[in-house]
């Protein structure tokens, strides 16, 4: 498809560039006039927020790396050097540290939006799966980043988590040795984790590019979960959603600032203010809050291998979610049974998070087992069956005519429903 672009930009310099490399035309198409459903609520801010958050992490991370020493003898003190002696080093570090927590808050809400409004369903399956890849990459990045300050929790968290891989038969111990670069978590581990922690965010940038590219093929979902039918259903992305996203970004920055400036260590663990010591094990080894639900799943299973599989499985199941949910109605607004059930699932995840923060004893074991079972039950049993049994509410005709077909809300005949769900 060689050939110059016919650029419509008036500015001669921009026009000259655009003719040869049509990035301006592309930006105009994808972010200027891009037709976007007009009925988004504020849940649709969180993708853009995640993007802003990623940029914040990369920028602060690069400045941290300029003063950080990936060496077990120096790492802890170099971080304190950043906090005390580098100009505004405390600000950079606290933004990076709390930015990681915000990243997970934002992404978890983003995922919840997808679950609630059925954004994972056809034709957005691949977009969703790329999202799950992003989540996994984020987790790996955050885990390795937490090891870098080389405090007690860094060290012992790394030891516990890397040791999990030893549960796999045959290859397990080899994987662990490879991760460690030796026979325990030590200097080589810190070195490779630093290298990888620097690399992964840029891999993330690549996958997010694909995620957004896929989004711009299918177009966005919306709170009604029905397809865009006419141009009246949409608005150009700019200025409508650029300004709406800007509001969200401001609020996001307020929350981040509140954490950074007034409670910078609120989400952290006091143990990480103690330099790593392989001879002293902390009373309870707990990961950062955003890993607690998975940690609870892991610890709820008595068998190590099974526990590891259940933990990773809890994320893997998201990959096949588009095929587990058999309902063709996307938005929970029109799914009277799914709607409360998704909140029960959220509650189970939150309870798992609480269990993860406690030693696996007594009531916490029981609770985490119940919640783990429910977590899987939701995806593997409830969703496949529910799609067949549930009678969805009547869907609106279109986004711009959100008036329902008939009053009283009996379900539409099957044929009419299928027709509505067809891609316009």
């Amino acid at each position: 498809m060689a050939g110059l672009t016919k650029s419509e930009f008036a500015n001669p310099v921009i026009n000259w560039i655009d003719t040869r490399l049509p990035i301006f035309t592309m930006m105009q198409k994808e972010y200027g006039v891009f037709p976007t459903p007009k009925n988004f609520n504020y849940f649709w801010n969180f993708g853009a927020l995640a993007m802003v958050n990623l940029v914040i992490m990369i920028v602060t991370g690069i400045f941290l790396a300029m003063n950080y020493q990936p060496n077990t003898e120096l790492a802890f003190d170099s971080v304190q050097h950043i906090m005390r002696d580098v100009n505004y080093g405390w600000l950079i570090r606290y933004v990076h540290q709390n930015g990681a927590s915000m990243f997970f808050i934002v992404t978890y809400i983003h995922i919840f939006r997808g679950l609630y409004y059925g954004s994972y369903k056809a034709p957005r399956e691949l977009l969703w799966m790329l999202g799950v890849v992003i989540l996994l990459l984020m987790m790996a990045t955050a885990f390795m980043g937490y090891v870098l300050p080389w405090g007690q929790m860094s060290y012992w968290g790394a030891t516990v988590i890397t040791n999990l891989f030893s549960a796999f038969p045959v290859v397990g111990p080899k994987i662990v040795t490879l991760l460690w670069g030796g026979f325990s978590v030590d200097n080589p581990t810190l070195n490779r984790f630093f290298a990888l922690h620097y690399l992964m965010p840029f891999v993330l940038v690549g996958v997010i590019f694909l995620h957004v590219a896929a989004l711009h093929i299918t177009g966005s979902n919306n709170p009604l979960g029905i397809d865009v039918k006419t141009p009246q259903d949409t608005l150009p992305f700019h200025p409508y959603y650029t300004i709406k996203d800007s509001v969200g970004i401001c609020v996001f920055l307020i929350v981040l600032s509140a954490l950074v400036f007034f409670a910078p260590n609120y989400l952290g663990d006091p143990n990480n203010f103690i330099p790593a010591n392989p001879l002293v094990t902390p009373a309870d080894i707990v990961p950062e809050w955003y890993f607690l639900p998975y940690y609870a799943i892991l610890r709820s299973v008595p068998n190590k291998l099974l526990g590891v599989c259940m933990m990773f499985g809890s994320l893997m199941v998201l990959f096949v979610l588009p095929w587990l949910d058999t309902s063709r109605v996307r938005s929970a607004r029109f799914r009277p049974v799914y709607r409360p059930l998704i909140f029960v699932w959220v509650l189970a995840v939150i309870l798992l998070g609480i269990c993860g923060a406690h030693k696996p004893e007594g009531v916490w074991v029981i609770l985490s087992r119940v919640c783990t079972v429910y977590y899987y039950l939701h995806f593997l049993v409830i969703l496949p069956i529910l799609g067949k049994l549930e009678r969805p509410l009547p869907l609106p005709e279109s986004i711009s005519h959100p008036v329902l077909g008939g009053r009283g809300g009996g379900p539409l005949p099957g044929g009419a429903l299928a027709k509505l769900m067809e891609k316009a």
């Binding site: 400036f261 006091p270 103690i274």
Partner: protein, 258 residues
């Protein structure tokens, strides 16, 4: 909009339940954890500099016999209100290692403001030998490194009470009601009147403990005051920007029917 609101309620109601559940174990310990009033803990609170300076006096006179404060330099004392001349004088009172002399022998001499705080022991081993096998931790971050923070450290310093009759004490350990397990390797460092203050402040144990913990809180988070001051301005600015952006958003969206 009401839909959105019920949705948000659905998300946050469980979160609230969770928060209250989480606070249960915290409440269980509450009787042991002191609830001191700290000048720096309030939203806009700053360090009580006089208290921090008295705390520095206690650290240098008492704690520094056993505990290092490795992350601090004498120049940092400007943060608790010492003038450059005072800092020079304070530093000159300590002998610290100064690299090697022309012959390659280790050299010692009076500290300068740029020197790191003098450590009482050459290494951990020497520290243990001098303390009955227990290692006195570096105090630079101690306030951040313990659940309960300033209140906990205060609780340790004021927690020396006679052991209950039935309690079996190990040799060389001391009963402390705050310390996990109640047997600590540190002999009670502070009593009423351990130090003499030049500013006429009373020297009850509580006062001394309060002062040294104020100093240690500053040592752990010397950026606190600047951080909060910048924070107030940043948040005010962002609130203003949010209002402005929201107004523009309303304007832009005013012609859309939805």
């Amino acid at each position: 909009m009401p839909k959105l609101r019920s949705l948000l309620a659905g998300v946050f109601a469980p979160a609230l339940v969770v928060a209250s559940l989480l606070s249960v174990p915290a409440m269980a310990q509450e009787d042991a954890m002191p609830r001191e009033k700290w000048s720096f803990e309030k939203l806009f609170g700053t360090f009580d500099l006089a208290a921090a300076q008295r705390g520095f006096q206690i650290y240098s006179g008492v704690c520094s016999n056993c505990h290092s404060l490795k992350l601090l330099h004498y120049r940092d004392l400007s943060g608790i209100g010492l003038e450059p001349e005072q800092i020079k004088a304070v530093a000159a009172g300590f002998t610290v290692p100064l690299g090697t002399d022309d012959q390659g022998n280790p050299k010692e001499g009076p500290a300068t403001p740029a020197s790191a705080f003098r450590s009482p022991f050459a290494n951990d081993k020497a520290a243990r030998v001098a303390n009955n096998g227990a290692l006195p931790p570096d105090l630079s971050l101690i306030v951040n490194a313990r659940e309960g923070g300033a209140n906990y450290v205060y609780g340790i310093l004021t927690g020396y009470v006679p052991a209950p009759a039935a309690f079996k004490m190990q040799d060389g350990l001391y009963y402390n009601k705050m310390y996990p397990g109640h047997q600590i390797g540190m002999p009670q460092p502070l009593q009423d009147g351990t130090v003499e203050y030049t500013d006429g402040t009373g020297t009850s144990l509580d006062q001394e403990a309060h002062d040294v913990v104020t100093f240690l809180s500053w040592a752990a988070n010397p950026e606190t005051v600047e951080r909060k001051q910048i924070g107030v301005r940043v948040v005010l600015f962002l609130v203003f920007m949010t209002g402005l952006t929201y107004a523009v958003k309303r304007k832009v969206w005013s012609n859309v029917h939805h």
